[in-house]
Symmetry: C2
Subunit: 137 residues, 2 copies
């Protein structure tokens, strides 16, 4: 149970984009250099974020990446979900069919609570919060 570096990098890149403003696209090499992320790896991360509708890219010589919408509208949970798939930690929580014992399973209660705690924490913080260094409580 560990956060992947893909996810750490992805969040940092998004925070960088948010902090950098939206005037013009930010080229990938700049993000990679500033944040110390291997460029080819970052490329694959940004691809996922683009597929998830969180960033938009413009090609060509003055191209780069921008947030797809205002930073207040992007929660950390959105980023993690785009990079890692559904937040849920065990298969049986969203999908009752996944386990034959589901209805009588006391453990399931635990994992559901954990899922709620995680979603709550991640969906409660937006990129805007992070750039203002003011995280809501």
């Amino acid at each position: 149970m560990r956060i992947s570096s893909r996810c750490e990098y992805g969040l940092r890149a998004m925070v960088y984009l948010a902090a950098r403003g939206d005037e013009r696209p930010v080229p990938l090499p700049e993000i990679a250099a500033e944040e110390g992320i291997p460029a080819p790896f970052l490329e694959r991360i940004l691809a996922r974020l683009r597929e998830g509708g969180l960033v938009k890219a413009t090609r060509g010589v003055t191209g780069g990446y921008q947030l797809a919408r205002e930073s207040a509208g992007i929660a950390v949970g959105d980023i993690v979900t785009a990079l890692e798939g559904p937040l849920s930690l065990v298969g049986c929580v969203p999908d009752e069919e996944a386990c034959a014992r589901a209805e009588s399973c006391a453990s399931r209660v635990v994992w559901r609570r954990l899922d709620e705690a995680i979603s709550g924490a991640l969906n409660g913080i937006t990129l805007e919060d992070l750039t203002r260094e003011a995280v809501p409580r």
Copy 2:
């Protein structure tokens, strides 16, 4: 970011032990059969739980496993920690040295919040709660 089956199995085994009462040791094969866990794998899981001081084993022909203390004194977080190591999701939260950018890192705030949410959820439920099907809120 997924719960390992080691962890799922471990929790289920602990719940089984708690529900089974403390009269006499429960043999591993029984737990394995009842919970549908591969016996040799369960053996390794119980080894960790024993090293973590959560169960005690008695050897010999009427031997088996028992909770090391009353079920009200064992939180789910204890079990996960014994099986997976510290709950923390990223290195830089407990150990500031792990990342050169730590002090200026906005992302770090996120991971810390997440850590707190997870610890809170897991440490707030004990085995006793689970056997009574009454989970505190």
